[in-house]
Amino acid sequence: MPALAQGLEGEDLANLEKGLQAALGKGFKDLTPSDAVKLTMPAIAESGANVPAEVEVALPQGQVKAIHLFADKNPTPHLVAVQLMGGLPYYASRVRLAETTAVRAVVETADGKLLLASASTRVTVGGCG
């Protein structure tokens, strides 16, 4: 098991596997953790309904076919698929996270590899002032 995938808060590999199979027809074992993929998530969400997510890929433009985001604990783990035809390897958005979860950026390269970066975001029901 890749070191990057262990000990993350909110990890749920079984649920993630379902999402990976549905979206890519591949499983967690087919992913290669890569430092070229940088996934920026807040360590703690201000609001689970609105969590900024950003993916930057340090690879030449033509080598990145698509960027995917997954959240282990979401009922539908696949958050988005972004096909890049003319853009730089970058994607940012705001996503809903159901609870504290591991988040994955999966990058499809032109040569058919699936690169992985993981992060974890804590979502709480909160306290009061």
């Binding site: 807040p42 360590a43 703690i44 969400a45 201000e46 609001s47 309904a49 609105n50 900024p52 705001r94 804590r122 709480t124 029901v125 909160g126 306290g127 009061c128 002032g129």
Partner: protein, 554 residues
């Protein structure tokens, strides 16, 4: 140590307290967390501030004896009355009620005059709501008061519970400038407020940066701040500080609603902040704190004190400072305009001050786990809905204190329950979920890293008892949960009542129950009882800490 001793003595002679010899180049007059308290009242500091182990004994978690020890104060002194729960009823009778908008205004004006006007008046936030007058005027009474007091800058937190639209409406009237580097519009992430303001300070310049409470959306229903985002945004703060340094600003001050633990962490992690004026956790710092090269001064709460910080500036920073925590005592003069404003609000809302019941035991709000005012709210809900098995009451830091022999009024009830979402909900929730909720709140309160703390004290539970292990990992801090004395059954549904939070959204609402504000329950209960005599009955056992409630047998 001698400095602390000298300070302790000075605090015994109030006249020496308010007439300060000139010092330095520029003065900041700072108060925080007023929570709409316009009239003098009592406010007892918490008997316990349970800390995550790595933060034990640090400012932000100093209650009672440890507060006195840390700041070198004598038991029974004025500052012991202001800063601790110790001997509270006795000291309250000796020193009298604290706060009140009319005296706070007069004190601010007098201090400003003492320094020949070379001062900024700064409001640390949590000003516009949580009291009868503030809620009845939807914040306007507070804005009027700020305007006549001459506040220069403020930051927000509970202000947003008035709703974003109302906040923006009040801003049109507000003469103070709102500062925030960490409030952005959700459209494209643009800043909503100026991040800072730069002021000339004699031969030097001084910048004030504003930090809005980072977790507005976690602590309150999200719709109140729709379309806005907050967050700590440490890197952006560093950018702002660097930008000010590059401009040649001499002193950089952060007006922060981050709370003392988070502000301490920010002082460690962000370079170049000279002084943090800290709000939100309602702490008091009778002696200024120092973290690396950053000074920290907290602003107290409930109108209890005005903090005066005199700065001796130098090229590129603060050479030294003198900070004095000035209690707002009954013996101080009142500002006539502020007094008239307060009287007018109460004249228009005469029901607020009608006597409801006699108070025969000490009623207070603040503690990490339990308070007698929460007990009162929960008993009132139980009296109306005897079928309810568990009641939740929010662990807000704001509130008030009533002494034995006092009188309960709607004004005092709203001082600890008054919010824009006061409704009591009845709902069903599985045992497993109840425990998970407590774990989640505990994970929040006892997070060893202040960057992961969002919100106030633990929600209070009634009908439900448990053992708390603050040092256990997340998910295993809550042990031996019992409902009405019987072990919690994970698969059974419980009938729960809660107010002032969002817990009901995680359960299934009871059909046919129309939510009513909690203060209506308390009023009805107190009227029927005629007298309130609540011996503390703390319902949480704490492992690894000496958790005690005065008068409680736990």
């Amino acid at each position: 140590v001698t400095g602390r001793k000298a300070l302790a003595q000075a605090l015994e002679r109030p006249e020496a307290l308010y007439e300060l010899p000139p010092y330095g180049d520029y003065t900041l007059l700072y108060y925080a967390d007023l929570h709409g308290q316009l009239r003098p009242h009592y406010y007892m500091e918490p008997p316990n501030l349970l800390a995550p182990r790595p933060l034990m004994g640090r400012p932000g978690y100093l209650a009672g004896e440890s507060f006195l020890r840390y700041y070198g104060l004598e038991r029974g002194s004025l500052m012991a009355y202001i800063g601790t729960y110790l001997d509270f009823p006795t000291l309250a009778r000796r020193f009298g009620p604290v706060g009140g908008a009319a005296r706070l205004t007069a004190l601010i004006k007098a201090q400003k005059e003492q320094v020949g006007g070379k001062a900024l008046v700064l409001d640390g936030g949590d000003t516009w709501t949580n009291s009868g007058p503030s809620l009845r005027t939807r914040g306007e009474a507070m804005v009027d008061w700020m305007n006549l007091t001459g506040v220069d800058h403020m930051v927000y937190h509970w202000e947003y519970t008035l709703g974003r639209a109302r906040v923006e409406e009040l801003e049109k009237k507000l003469s103070a400038q709102v500062l925030s580097y960490n409030t952005t519009d959700d459209l494209f992430g643009d800043p909503v407020y100026p991040a800072y303001a730069v002021h000339p300070a004699g031969r030097y310049t001084l910048a004030v940066i504003g930090l809005t409470y980072p977790y507005v959306k976690v602590s309150h229903p999200e719709e109140f701040s729709e379309g806005l985002s907050f967050g700590v945004r440490e890197k952006e703060l560093q950018k702002v500080v660097d930008e000010l340094r590059a401009k040649g600003v001499d002193a950089v001050v952060l007006l922060s609603h981050g709370g003392l633990p988070l502000d301490t962490a920010l002082a460690q992690r962000v370079r170049g902040i000279d002084l943090i004026l800290s709000a939100h956790t309602h702490d008091l710092t009778p002696v200024p704190l120092r973290v690396g090269r950053t000074f920290l001064v907290a602003g107290g709460s409930a109108g209890k004190v005005l903090v005066r910080v005199d700065l001796r500036l130098k090229k590129g920073g603060i050479a030294s400072l003198r900070a004095r925590t000035l209690p707002v005592l009954e013996s101080l003069p009142e500002d006539p305009a502020a007094k008239a404003l307060v009287e007018e609000v109460y004249r228009q809302n005469p029901d607020l001050l009608e006597p409801i019941a006699r108070v025969e035991s000490l009623l207070y709000k603040r503690d990490t786990l339990y308070s007698t005012l929460d007990e009162l709210a929960c008993r009132a809900i139980e009296a109306a809905h005897p079928e309810v098995e568990v009641v939740f009451s929010p662990g807000t830091r704001w509130g008030t204190t009533l002494l034995p022999g006092g009188v309960l009024t709607l004004d005092r009830v709203l001082a600890y329950t008054g919010s824009t979402y006061p409704e009591v909900y009845l709902f069903r929730m599985r045992g497993e979920r109840l425990k998970a909720t407590l774990e989640d709140i505990a994970a929040n309160v006892f997070a060893p890293d202040p960057f992961f703390q969002q919100g106030g004290d633990m929600s209070r539970t009634y009908g439900l008892t448990y053992t708390l292990d603050p040092d256990a990992p997340s998910g295993s801090r809550i042990l031996d949960v019992r409902v009405r004395g019987r072990p919690l059954e994970p698969d059974r549904e419980y009938l729960v009542a809660a107010y002032g939070g969002r817990l009901q959204r995680a359960g299934v609402l009871v059909e046919g129950h129309t939510p009513r504000p909690v203060h209506e329950y308390i009023l009805a209960f107190a009227k029927k009882e005629g007298r309130i005599d609540l011996k503390p009955r703390p319902n949480v056992r704490v492992l690894g800490r000496n958790y005690r409630i005065p008068g409680g047998e736990a």
